[in-house]
């Protein structure tokens, strides 16, 4: 092992992540679920909703619906990256080997981000290729594609932050799934326009996926890039908070 000193924690984290069977299961689930839901979303459009392909549906956004499902896999991957260490107690070994705690967290975040970006890119590209094959006038665009991959990566980092803060896998997963799914559900179903407006602007989840829209952009509650920015702010803010807590607390 002749890796540079600074790269050693990175290499260690990569080894840990790569040797967990759950990592590969989750990445497989990310690709499979994203693709399956994307296919289910576009199939009716291809078949009978608009036969000529000249309907009002935002086909690019529709083909990327699977990201809604795939992000759960990313969240769990992010949570397990830290949560598994607390669950099994390896965190103490990790911190004994690398006492600089911010470096541990940064290495975990880097490895996790690279891995989910790769998995997410695979899932998103597969969905786009499938839609391209099924729909006649499908025109993939760069912003939704890139944005979806970024969104999946940020969700994984959010999971890492939550697990570091809570030091508990099930708590972090429950909270994370609440942010990803329950908040957007309330945004739509809540009968109160006041709270709807507040949640649309301040909650990370429906906001981030506005990055996928290619039609009726003026009708969106938040513009595409600022929307993704909301999620990025949550992920970065929570990661920072997690870093502070990680430094100040016992393992």
């Amino acid at each position: 092992m002749r890796a540079h000193h600074a790269l050693r924690p990175l290499h260690a984290e990569w080894t840990k992540l790569r040797t967990l069977p759950s990592t590969w299961w989750l990445l497989a689930a990310l690709v499979a679920l994203t693709l399956a839901v994307g296919a289910a979303a576009i199939a009716p459009v291809a078949a009978d909703v608009c036969p000529g392909g000249t309907c009002d549906e935002d086909t690019v956004k529709l083909s990327l619906t699977g990201v809604w499902m795939g992000q759960a896999a990313c969240l769990i991957l992010g949570v397990l990256t830290m949560g598994a260490e607390y669950g099994t107690g390896t965190i103490r070994t990790t911190l004994a080997a690398t006492p600089t705690r911010w470096r541990v967290l940064a290495s975990k975040a880097t490895v996790l981000a690279l891995l989910t970006a790769a998995g997410g890119a695979l899932a998103v590209l597969a969905s786009i290729l499938l839609a391209d094959a099924l729909l006649p006038d499908y025109a993939p665009a760069l912003r939704p594609t890139l944005g979806s991959v970024l969104c999946l990566t940020l969700v994984a980092l959010l999971g890492l932050a939550l697990a570091t803060m809570l030091r508990d896998t099930s708590g972090a997963i429950t909270l994370g799934l609440g942010i990803l799914y329950v908040v957007p559900l309330l945004v739509t179903l809540i009968p109160s326009p006041t709270w709807q407006h507040r949640l649309e602007r301040w909650a990370p989840m429906p906001a981030a996926l506005s990055i996928q829209s290619t039609r009726h952009l003026a009708d969106l509650p938040i513009a595409p890039w600022p929307g993704l920015g909301v999620l990025a702010a949550y992920a970065a803010g929570l990661l920072l908070l997690a870093g502070v807590l990680f430094r100040t607390r016992d393992a």
Binding site: A40, V49, V182, P184, I190
Partner: protein, 517 residues
Amino acid sequence: MTTSTNTEPETTPTPYRSHLHPTHAGFPRLLHAEWTKFRTVRAWLLVLVAAAVATVLITQLSASGSVTSGGPDAIHGPDGTTVTDSFRFTHRPLTGDGSVTARVTGLKTADDRSVEPWAKAGLIVKSSLRQGSSYAAVLATPGHGVRMQWNFTHDTAGSDSAVTTAPRWLRLTRTGDRLTGYESADGANWSKIEDVSLSGLPKTVQVGLVLATPGHQDVHRSFGGSSQSSGGGRATATYDHLTLRGTSTTTPWTSTDVGAPTPNAPAPHNARPDSTTTVTDGTYTLTGQGDIAPDQGGPDIVQMSFQGVFVGILFMIALGALFVTGEYKRGLIRTTFTATPARLKVLAAKTTVIGAVTFVAGLAAVAVGYTLAQSTLRGNGFGPPAFPDYPLLENPALRAVLGSAALLSLVAVLALAVGVVLRNSAGAIATVVMLVILPQILSFAFPLPAARWLLRVTPAAAFAVQQGVKKYDFTSHNCLPEGGCYPLSPGNGLTVLAAYTAAALLLAAWTVRRRDA
């Protein structure tokens, strides 16, 4: 007298043996053991309390932000349902028994849109020209065949002949309170559609030709709010062979728009500007708009009082999963199975405890949440008569409250069963959240047919139990998932979730028996 002494000294100390045979340990004892496990973990009690508090709090926040200024006066049908009742009516009074017959020869749109599937042309017997008064009608529609409908909430399908392609003979007879609808292809061979009784029908009623068409609805859906624009919707229908048998005043046929500002005033004040009736050589041509149907578009203030359940359910999922995965994680499961080798009994005891605990906590939370939300909504303008009172202990509120508690409990048991199968909390929690909550989110994003299908076949169908307004499938109302509309009826929706839970429990029972702990 002899002092008692140990006449048989013990050779070896016998180890303690329970009097109970391990496999025959009583089920109440097992229940007690599982209940002790539950109540002594402080985190679980906290989660349970947090679930209840979050449910009440979110429900209350949601209700406090919902304000209405009342809107136009609602029209109520004979049974109190909010209804739409406006149509073009060419009528004569009929006193006592009699019948009206006509042939509907065509129904087409009068503007540049396609004809609505629920446009209606036919015959009606109505107790008065007042909106919401009782009626019975035989109607030919372009998309749903021939129907007999009465008092807004009742509908019987006749033949599925489409009025846009084939003329149809219709007949409506009155005998006392009984009204019978008939249809025929040729005017000679008649088949009965339905025979109904309208109580309180006056001696003299208005009978004649009816034309109504709901407005065309354009739905633009997007996540975080879909907009619906309803436009136009004028139709023209033609009739001939109009005959009325029975005692009627000798006045000719007159035309009125039911729902026009002053229906009893002389023409033209009793009509909308673009409604017409022309008669040439026995052919009646009616042009108009409106609909005769239950009004399904308004806010459902029962359903609006359960928003917190979406948050409470998350805690219940975590609780159900952790109740068993916690034992697998810490190895306690081996102790549990050593104490009670009958594993199915352990599973049954765990199911009973978590089901009962989540049901009781859920019931308390939704009942309190519902009561608070209802009083908040009253204060925000959702008051009678447009929004009648729904007392907690009467249907539909009682059904919605009990159903929501059952929903929370069933989901917790589902999480428990999935936890037994997967033996880890991360997988169990994520799986159940994706089964129960994700389908609803996807239903907002999917095209409508796929979205409705999703809400029929996944456990998310169970949220239909919170609906207070009964959904009728014979209206043109668009059932949009983002509007809180679930395609299944409350009972069927909850049954779907119960079926998932039962299937998961069976799978759990099978795996827990054949696997090592």
